[in-house]
């Protein structure tokens, strides 16, 4: 069974710095592997440990630093790692990002059975890219998955939980699954894993390798464009109460 895992590095959104002009200060942002993408890796490794003849290929699209995430994926158990990197890719929206990934998956891992992704990325949080990958590759998907009790070359069983509505699906392979919960098992690579990982070279491909014209990807190729980005401000004129706090609250409570 051939598993593809798509992972992404994201800025740490809990530690956002702003420039004087109220723009995101990207230069001072720390990047880390998106938490739910790490979960997707864990599910892949879990399947590999439970069944025979499972291979894992990790994909990431991003700048050259994204190779860090791929090295980690290899240490965890991936036997191949593919970095899709090109200046032309920058600014791609969800539709184009999905198209780049889908075309790469079809080209470099045509015999994939299962694609695993995280349900959402902490930065954009659109929950769209994985669905768009599934549609571009014309495969069925299950999203918001919290358990994969069974997987083989022909079918995958996935449990989806959407706000308490729990559906168990049987998906025909090839298929895509987006996970939104930590896997029950989590493999932490040891020193030997990292040594083994050093012997696996990360394959890097660019727009030309994938047959894209520069007009088809990045900001130019994306069907959407950010017209304006701003820091949310509320219109509230907040009044601070500094004295007789308890009495004031009681007043609101009893008199509205």
């Amino acid at each position: 069974m051939n598993i593809v895992v798509c992972i992404k590095q994201v800025p740490d959104v809990t530690d956002i710095k702003w420039t004087k002009e109220n723009n995101l200060d990207r230069s001072n942002m720390l990047s880390k592997l998106n938490t739910l993408d790490e979960c997707a890796l864990d599910y892949a490794v879990d399947i590999m440990q439970r069944y025979k003849n499972v291979t894992i290929t990790a994909y990431s699209m991003g700048p050259s630093q994204a190779s860090e995430a791929l090295e980690y994926a290899v240490a965890k158990g991936a036997s191949r790692a593919i970095l899709l990197s090109d200046k032309l890719f920058s600014g791609s929206d969800t539709y184009i990002t999905a198209k780049i990934l889908a075309i790469a998956i079809r080209k470099y891992t045509p015999d994939f059975d299962l694609i695993l992704t995280g349900q959402a990325a902490a930065d954009g949080d659109t929950e769209q890219t994985h669905i768009s990958i599934a549609q571009t590759l014309d495969v069925i998907d299950a999203t918001s998955v919290t358990d994969i009790p069974n997987a083989d070359k022909h079918r995958v069983i996935a449990v989806q939980n959407i706000g308490g509505e729990v559906n168990t699906y049987e998906l025909k392979t090839p298929c895509l699954i987006a996970v939104k919960k930590q896997c029950k098992t989590k493999y932490t690579p040891n020193i030997e894993d990292y040594i083994r990982a050093q012997n696996i070279k990360i394959e890097t491909y660019n727009a030309e390798d994938l047959g894209f014209d520069k007009k088809e990807v990045g900001i130019q190729g994306s069907p959407t464009m950010v017209a304006k980005a701003f820091r949310p401000v509320t219109e509230k004129n907040t009044v601070e109460i500094t004295e007789n706090k308890t009495e004031k609250i009681l007043e609101f409570l009893l008199e509205g």
Binding site: P11, V13, T14, I16, L24, T94, Y95, A122, D123, G124, D125, T126, Q128, I131, S132, A134, Q135, V139, I140, D141, A142, T143, I162, G163, G164, E165, V166, N167, T168, Y169, E170, L171, K172, C175, S222, P223, T224, M225, V226, A227, K228, A229, F230, P232, V233, T234, K236, T238, V239, E240, I241, T242, K245, T246, K248, I249, L250, F252, L253, G256
Partner: protein, 336 residues
């Protein structure tokens, strides 16, 4: 005539509340088009439902919310949601009856179906929007959806270069408004193709949703956050204070998830929504999901020991204090 399509969902056999919210919002867009430009500014609002049936009352209500044409894409296979089946059914209608704008509800199923449709149409999709308006760009009306991103630290207005222009809209952000318009077109689009063998089989489906308290009539709500966790007796005390004063007790998702209070008290995006007259937040930091459920309350009073807590931005009154201490004092006064 130009057209705005609104994808509507059924929930428990009736048209979902979000459907009416989106139709009313489309009506606002339609009106604003007339203010922004004088030429070619007339829009038809089309509600599209994929189902095996629709109740006449729901259709009536959709007209009252602002829809001009109600489309039922009808097939027996549409009583269970399978994304690829819904995709084909939607496309069967849409290819013959395209529109320049499609708005979808950002519900779990809406967010699964919408990217399928827009990818198939090779167009863009703006996810989980909290604002929607028309702007004039190069003398053309453009749909301008705005969405929170980077953990809601940043808002982005995103335009579409391709057609149709599409967005998913977060539920409970816009208000459904009903007028006396009771007439519109009704189209029944019956599918004429047979389905391929499903690539997805549903083995079981269980609803573990617990009941959520109804906060729609609440006047005063006392709501508990994780900031009270250093003294867990505060949760019971605040509940008791609510009982004594006739207020309603509420809580954030975090304290519900941690088991400090029951799921039925959860207020926020995945819990209840409220527009109460008075909302007093005790030790609530102000996660965007919680804000979504209470920001429209008329008077918001927040108590938090962190003077920079997010919740203060949405509050009319800010009190920097230990919320546990305040609860203790109120509790003593009311029970002595």
């Amino acid at each position: 005539m130009r057209k705005i399509a609104v994808y509507c969902e059924k929930e428990n056999n009736v048209l979902s509340e979000t459907s009416y919210e989106l139709i009313s919002k489309a009506l606002e867009l339609k009106k604003s088009a007339k203010e922004l430009t004088t030429e070619n500014n007339d829009f038809l609002i089309e509600a599209i439902v994929l189902s095996n049936s629709i109740d006449a009352n729901d259709v009536q209500k959709a007209y009252q919310a602002g829809c001009d044409r109600f489309v039922l894409v009808k097939d027996n296979n549409l009583d269970i949601f399978i994304q690829t089946v819904f995709l084909e059914a939607f496309m069967d209608y849409f290819y013959q009856n395209p529109s320049e704008i499609i708005i979808f509800p950002a519900t779990p199923k809406g967010r699964i179906l919408a990217p399928r449709i827009t990818t198939k149409l090779h167009t863009g999709l703006v996810a989980d929007c909290t604002n929607l308006e028309f702007i004039l760009k190069d003398n053309e009306l453009k749909l301008a959806p705005t969405r929170p991103t980077f953990g809601a630290e940043l808002m982005a207005t995103i335009l579409s270069k391709s057609f149709p222009q599409c967005a998913t809209i977060r539920p409970k952000v816009f208000k459904a408004k009903f007028d006396n318009q009771t007439k519109g077109d009704f189209i029944e689009h019956i599918l004429k193709y047979s389905y391929d063998e499903a690539r997805l089989k549903i083995l079981s489906s269980i609803n573990e949703k617990t009941g959520i308290s109804d906060y729609s009539d609440a006047k005063i709500i006392l709501s508990a956050g994780y900031g009270l966790a250093s003294d867990k007796s505060s949760y019971d005390k605040l509940k008791k204070i609510s009982e004594i004063t006739g207020a309603k007790f509420g809580a954030t998702r975090k304290v519900v998830d941690l088991g400090y209070v029951g799921k039925e008290y959860q207020i926020g995006q995945t819990g209840a929504y409220t527009e109460a007259d008075v909302y007093i937040a005790f030790g609530i930091s102000g996660a965007i999901q919680h804000i979504a459920g209470m920001k429209n309350c008329k008077k918001i009073i927040s108590i938090n020991s962190d003077t920079d807590a997010e919740i203060f931005k949405y509050s009319d009154y800010k009190i920097v204090a230990d919320a546990n201490e305040i609860i203790n004092q109120i509790y003593s006064k009311l029970t002595s």
